[in-house]
Subunit: 452 residues, 2 copies
């Protein structure tokens, strides 16, 4: 009987900031258990991002459904000397019992537009802040970067190679998910295949060639050991010489029913090597073997290589994708918008936010391109499509989540709706997001309530 | 009976790149099981780092000691259709049986200097590459950034606030460890306290103030709920007005035996607010209450604030630390240096490496400042101190690891040994690392062996 596929275990309730727990004790002791509304949104994107792509909702819903404190966690907290027994008893019984409304994963969004709202008793809605941001921020960060690569690659195969320089285990795993969601075809990370069903890809490392004293022998060994997927790394010593060795080897392999599927380049001038290698393969009767490139790639380099006509069929993108190296974080927050039925708003210098429960309406032109959004209060009716929808009630999903494949299809359709300027790699003029009168009025009311 | 402290569960053997497994099948089927030597090192650091600080060894040793494939993992791999039963049987029995030599965590190091060597049968040494880089890269990245903050803060309190924008769960947890190791005093991440014994710190969020309609009431509730640690966030609306509310509140709290320990600023001109708030607190009899600052901080901003004499007693550093935002990855690799007793060397364009088993010798002047390193072959005797030492044999630690507190003390002593130019934030001239004649000779021999 098959076992369950292997999963990355969840980190538990203590993966949070200390102040969540100290604030919770304050709320609980003052009986501040009324309904609170928090929203997650991002502020202005960096110049190297024309839009954000929403991702991470699925992991947030998992987290909320599973949230609880184990006895071991409570014992450990008790030992800190900060928390009173009655509060620890409260934590022992705590489950997330609230509602979530959210934008579907794979939807582009813009500054100040919420992609997720939590409506729950104040302590529950507060406690989840740290992990919820941790999950939504990272996947949205990677999906937003990966979407640019998808647009630059114009249909060429894209594979995530980034595990080793991703920031830890979960970053490697979730970068595979976020990049697949945003249009990548595969990942090299095995656990991403097991946990999310993401197609896996991989070739060989330089060490495989080096461990053999003879490069051609290394190629033959690899091909015979993995006849289903003969992709040979040819830049360990001399790229073109290695390509010729592949051509020499191919008939011997063909006699054994093994086809050379392709070669990988990983260093030097990738465009120039690709042209020379393509010619060697074509002359050698390997016209259907693909040329795959990797090594310090990002969306600009992919675009440059394709613009100069480099005969490259696919790209492995690692470090710069999995760390979103040109913008390694987004300015995103999870903010209290309402408590006990009253609007709330932060007014700190340079960090003011829009209060209340909000909806994002998106308008489209006749060609299906989006042409502007409206940030409105929930309940107002805008033009076009309302993007925030209920996904959780009473702490449980309202419906099974879409499959990752469906999310990916949605994301690809959504990228098609973006105006050309937003799909370009260069900074676009800001996408129009209008703020409704009713929302402006509510912000004033929140300020008056806070005595400002 | 107390439970074990909560831990982040390990990710299992499938957190690796697919090509490790396909190469392993090739090695195993060709009986290439001889001893291999791999070393982990970093290439030239970015201009914003004068040195690297080694970190992550402890997690690598945990990983190597625990490495095995579960039946569920093997079943899942079997379903991929890439691996033959004999190879899956080999994986079922695979444990790491090799040696590790390494530089102690908390030791500064430079380009091309290995900080870790694995000596093991080729498949074992190969398989561990992905996770080993993933662990060493990230903690070294964060420790190297945190060390700069430690140097800039000149003894002021530094607290890691970065969990929410760290790249996932493990990044948040290990950034807390790496920054503590490099001189931080505490972290806000609760799990880092449970797992590593790192001191925890935290204040309150804006939402706590906003959930109350009255700011002064919020302060009083918080203080009475957490009398051990009264740190009040005062920038939700008007920073100086809030500081005056703290002064008004203090006598009432004092009557209940509660002392206001300090305030936190999180927005605006932190230096200017700190001066005004300090004056308000001092005039109000709260001369021993501390002023703590946070909000978009990095080592440059900390230095600037201290240079202008801002009366700030401590800094909370989050996003820019936990993502190492100015250099979100290091150019580090894990490379085959020797197989079956013969040196190996990668010669790819721009990526050539030094072969063989290496030792790093560090020379010091009479004041204990390091003045140059030598990269030599293991067995050569250099001047000064040899930094690479045995830590694991037969897949087991040779001795219990030093405590994290000991590692931190070592790191702080090591930072003191750096020449002033390296301790500065500005780019320093390259630190001298000499390559021995014997190592140059071996590189030539490796090239001859590969027929170059």
């Amino acid at each position: 009987m098959p076992h369950d596929p292997p999963y990355l275990p969840a980190p538990g309730a203590l993966l949070t900031d200390l102040y969540q727990l100290t604030m919770l004790q304050g709320y609980v002791e003052r009986d501040m258990l009324d309904g609170a509304v928090f929203e997650f949104f991002a502020r202005k994107p960096p110049a190297c991002r024309n839009f954000y792509l929403a991702a991470g909702l699925e992991q947030v819903l998992d987290y909320l459904e599973q949230l609880h404190f184990t006895q071991g966690e409570l014992d450990w907290l008790s030992g800190l000397g900060l928390f009173r027994p009655a509060f620890l008893d409260y934590l022992a019984g705590l489950r997330f019992s609230g509602e979530v409304q959210a934008m579907a994963e794979g939807t582009p969004f813009f500054a100040d537009e919420p992609i997720l709202r939590v409506v729950a008793p104040l302590p529950e809605a507060q406690l989840v802040e740290s992990r919820l941001i941790n999950l939504l921020h990272f996947q949205t960060l990677i999906a937003s970067k990966a979407a640019r690569l998808t647009l630059a690659a114009s249909g060429r195969r894209l594979v995530d190679f980034g595990l080793r320089r991703a920031h830890g285990a979960e970053a490697g795993l979730l970068a595979a998910r976020a990049s697949y969601l945003a249009g990548f075809q595969a990942s090299a990370t095995v656990l991403a295949g097991a946990q999310f069903g993401i197609p896996l890809a991989g070739t060989m490392a330089h060490s495989f060639v080096q461990a053999h004293l003879d490069e051609a022998e290394a190629f033959e060994h690899f091909a015979r050991s993995l006849p289903q997927s003969v992709l040979l790394l040819i830049d360990t010593y001399d790229t073109e010489a290695a390509a010729r060795k592949v051509v020499e080897l191919a008939p011997r392999l063909a006699a054994a029913g093994i086809r050379v599927q392709g070669v990988r380049l990983d260093s030097g001038d990738l465009g120039e090597h690709a042209r020379r290698v393509r010619a060697i393969l074509d002359r050698g009767g390997l016209g259907d073997a693909t040329v795959f490139a990797s090594g310090n790639l990002d969306e600009y380099e992919v675009r440059r290589l394709l613009a100069e006509g480099a005969p490259i069929d696919g790209f492995g993108v690692g470090t710069r994708l999995d760390t979103s190296s040109d913008a390694p974080y987004l300015d995103c927050v999870y903010k209290l918008q309402e408590y006990a039925g009253q609007p709330r708003r932060k007014r700190s210098e340079g960090k003011a936010t829009w209060p209340g429960r909000k909806q994002v309406w998106r308008r489209y032109d006749d060609d299906g391109r989006c042409r502007g959004d409206s940030l409105m209060l929930e309940g107002e009716t805008g033009e076009g499509q309302a993007l925030i929808r209920p996904v959780m009630r009473d702490g449980r999903r309202l419906a099974p989540s879409p499959s990752l494949r469906e999310v990916r299809a949605h994301a690809l359709r959504q990228l098609d709706t973006l105006p050309a300027a937003l799909r370009a790699l260069e900074p676009a003029p800001p996408y129009p997001v209008a703020v409704s009168e009713a929302l402006r009025d509510l912000a004033e009311r929140a300020d008056r309530l806070a005595g400002l």
